[in-house]
Amino acid sequence: MTTATMSPDVQGVLSGYDERRQNLIPILQDVQDVLGYLSEDAVSRVADHLGLSENDVFGVATFYTQFRFTPPGRHCIKVCQGTACHVRGSGLIVEELERRLGVAPGETTEDLKFSLERVACYGSCALAPVVVIDDDVHGRMNARKAEKLIEELD
């Protein structure tokens, strides 16, 4: 893909960084912010920009759990798996949401409405268990409350 045909968003991200390797992770984070995921084309452009092989860029991107390689759903539901959430039953919430949405953690529903994810500790342990929906942190959750929150989303 040439610069002329690629997403202007990715071009915008790349123009903010020079070619030093230390910019790789910040660039990937910004690209994911604008696209929602790391497309093959985007990875290829990032590799070009930094003078790295695509292999190298994928190697780094797949190492970190933050990066995804398929388009996300419109709403991202993350269930915290920290210790406090675990002993207060966050496992039940994940299971219930799996059943309800028909997807496993890490997957997106067919209608692209919801992505379900498990995340490592969110640091809101005092309000465990915690569910994060589109960056809003909800504390003192249970399966029913989480389902209600999801029903309210369009």
Binding site: L28, A84, A120
Partner: protein, 627 residues
């Protein structure tokens, strides 16, 4: 502008903010407060103040976390009479009453009040410092958390902030290091290495360019001390980072922070912008010729990046994998240059020590563990939240008095400290003083400060399995003992919790644990067996019950339990029917219900919602046996 002039301006701003008689509303809006609904409460205050025409008169401010997370959302209100009251569990529906009663009529709402912060006493409401959860605490790291507006640098300056930097810049770097050694401060990230000595290695290392890094990659599940400090008082850490930079001879600092902490990142960015405006960051700081820049680097979700060499690789744009040491980062770190890494709490202590002196700091704590330590209290405990206590305080005081004990009259079973690298401390060791040495003696570690309390309904084999599933998935895979060993341990623990354990597994767990501890490349692998080792040490009976009798005494491991409804206690209210995810519960209204054990998935939802304790858990009549 010189430092004195900066301070004078800041003092004026602080006096205006905090003067008695100025009505104000402070809302604890750190991530935990927000999770409990603080932003809705903030919006409700905005509406109510506008309705009463008070928006110009009453200051409405978001503050950080004061640590009492169990009572969130917390709101402090100061009325025109100067009395300041802290309200707990405030909901948007309470706001009208609080505004009309406290702010307008100067009549505090006693039933929602948690404590009186300042001013005349209130019947039946204790003073803040007399609350059992607060009385034992000494706040050094958290000196400003929940007190100041974290986005306002004047508040930090007026309360002595950057006084430590100003003092350090008037000293020789070597003397700053001496002062740090004299204070006795040890690294708060977990390992407890003396901070001053660590600095001296980086100071002495040859190199034209050096770096200091703040490790804010707080990855231990169950730990949120660093998040709270960065959200509630980012300057406390930033000042410490600048002092560390000056001491070792670095001009550049990095803050490596988890992407899971967006609010902390936002507060840091604001803090850096304010520092630049005041000339406290950049070139020739305070006219002393000291140049310093700070950059924020966001982590991308890898627990192993809390390890120093992996963190460095991550900043360099590589896979975050550790490498063998030596060379230590102090000789060859970021971009091959001498590098010093400290964690958030360490640096927030550094700024206080430089402001008030090593002797002042060394008065707190024990002979070998000086100062204070923050802990995140979570799990099965009444007062979940963030605390800061002097080193050497008995563990029992933390659990029973500060933490308020275990909820619902359940029995305390163990407290897990140090996250996946730590261990479970049982009831018989509750009287140990909390310091580096005593925690190691009972098989755990200080770690970064997570404390997760377990009660009689927590299964210790399940807890060990939980931590191993964490380390197994976070192992970077570089060295074989950690990559294969954690897998092997997890498999054995899973087998035990699912009824396939064999008698020889206990010895095998111990052997593999030792191999992983001795053979792994970095701290992640070396400490990963600790949860297994300590639970075996104190709760071997529980392992044996799973293995020999296929029983889970705590009633947690699903493959080994069954639920049943006690017809004597069941009132037929039907709540469990609503909550059962697989429709396994049936019964007529107001008649005892029954669970179809064939359909039941043992999730425990019915048990957690039953108000009559009618759902019983017991061992399976036909346990799943080994294949």
């Amino acid at each position: 502008m010189d430092f004195e002039a900066l301070k004078t301006d800041a003092q004026n701003a602080w006096d205006e903010f905090s003067r008695p008689g100025r009505p104000r509303v402070l809302i604890g809006a750190a991530t935990c407060g927000r999770a409990a609904g603080a932003l809705d409460v903030l919006e409700a205050f905005r509406t109510q103040l506008a309705e009463h025409g008070l928006e110009g008169e009453v200051a409405l401010t978001e503050i950080g976390c004061i640590g009492l997370c169990y009572a969130e959302p917390l709101v402090e209100i100061a009325g025109p009479d100067g009395r300041r009251v802290l309200y707990q569990s405030v909901k948007p529906a309470n706001v009208k009453m609080l505004v009309e009663s406290h702010l307008i009529k100067c009549e505090p709402v006693t039933k929602k009040a948690l404590a009186v912060m300042e001013g005349d006493a209130l019947d039946g409401v204790p003073r803040f410092n007399e609350l059992p959860v607060v009385a034992h605490q000494v706040r050094i790291v958290m000196r400003n958390c929940g007190v100041v507006d974290p986005t306002n640098i004047d508040h930090y300056l007026a309360r002595g902030g950057y006084g430590g930097l100003s003092r350090a810049l008037s000293m020789k770097p070597e003397d700053v290091i001496e002062e740090m050694i004299a204070s006795g401060l040890r690294g708060r990230g977990g390992a407890g290495f003396p901070t001053g000595r660590k600095w001296s290695f980086a100071r002495r290392a040859e190199g034209d360019e050096k770096y200091v890094i703040c490790n804010a990659d707080e990855g231990d599940p169950g730990a949120f001390m660093d998040r709270s400090v960065l959200e509630g008082d980012p300057h406390a850490m930033l000042e410490g980072l600048m002092i560390a930079g000056y001491a070792i001879g670095a001009k550049t600092g990095y803050v490596y922070i988890r992407a899971e902490y967006p609010l902390a990142i936002e507060r840091l960015k604001i803090a850096l912008a304010r520092l630049k405006e005041r000339g406290l960051l950049g070139s020739n700081i305070l006219g002393t010729g000291f140049d310093f820049e700070i950059f924020i680097k966001k982590g991308a979700g890898a627990f192993v990046c809390g390890e120093e060499t992996a963190l460095i690789a991550s900043i360099e744009g590589k896979r975050g994998m550790p490498r063998p040491r030596p060379p230590f980062p102090a000789q060859s770190g970021l971009f091959g240059k001498p590098t010093n890494i400290n964690n958030v709490e360490t640096l927030a202590s550094v700024s206080a020590i430089m402001e008030k002196g090593a002797d002042w700091y060394a008065k707190f704590g024990t002979e070998k563990s000086k100062g204070t330590k923050t802990f995140a209290l979570a799990g099965k405990i009444n007062h979940t939240g963030l605390i800061e206590v002097p080193m050497g305080i008995p563990l029992r005081t933390i659990i029973e008095e500060i933490g308020g004990g275990v909820p619902d009259g359940k029995a305390f079973k163990a407290v897990q400290t140090g996250g996946p690298s730590g261990g479970c401390i049982p009831a018989q060791h509750l009287d140990i003083p909390v310091d580096y040495e005593h925690l190691a003696e009972v098989g755990s570690i200080m770690g970064s400060g997570g404390m997760v309390v377990m009660d009689e309904e927590s299964c210790m084999v399940d807890v060990a399995r939980y931590f191993l599933s964490f380390t197994e998935s976070e192992s970077c895979g570089k060295c074989t003992p950690c990559r294969m060993g954690t897998q092997h341990l997890l498999q054995m623990l899973t087998d035990i919790t699912e009824g396939r354990g064999r008698p020889e597994d206990i010895e095998k767990l111990k052997r593999v644990s030792e191999a992983v501890a001795q053979g792994s490349l970095c701290g992640l692998g070396q400490t990963s067996p600790n949860p297994v080792i300590t639970t075996l040490r104190y709760f071997e009976d529980e392992y044996r019950a799973h293995i020999e009798r296929h029983e889970c005494p705590a009633g947690v491991c699903r493959e080994l339990i069954e639920f049943e409804i006690d017809p004597e206690k069941c009132t037929g209210c039907g709540v469990c029917v609503v909550y059962c995810p697989v429709n396994a519960i049936t019964g007529d209204k107001k008649q005892p219900h029954v669970i179809d054990t064939a359909a039941c998935i043992e999730c425990g939802s019915c048990r957690s919602v039953c108000r009559y304790e009618a759902v019983l858990v017991h061992g399976r009549s036909e346990p799943a046996l080994a294949e």
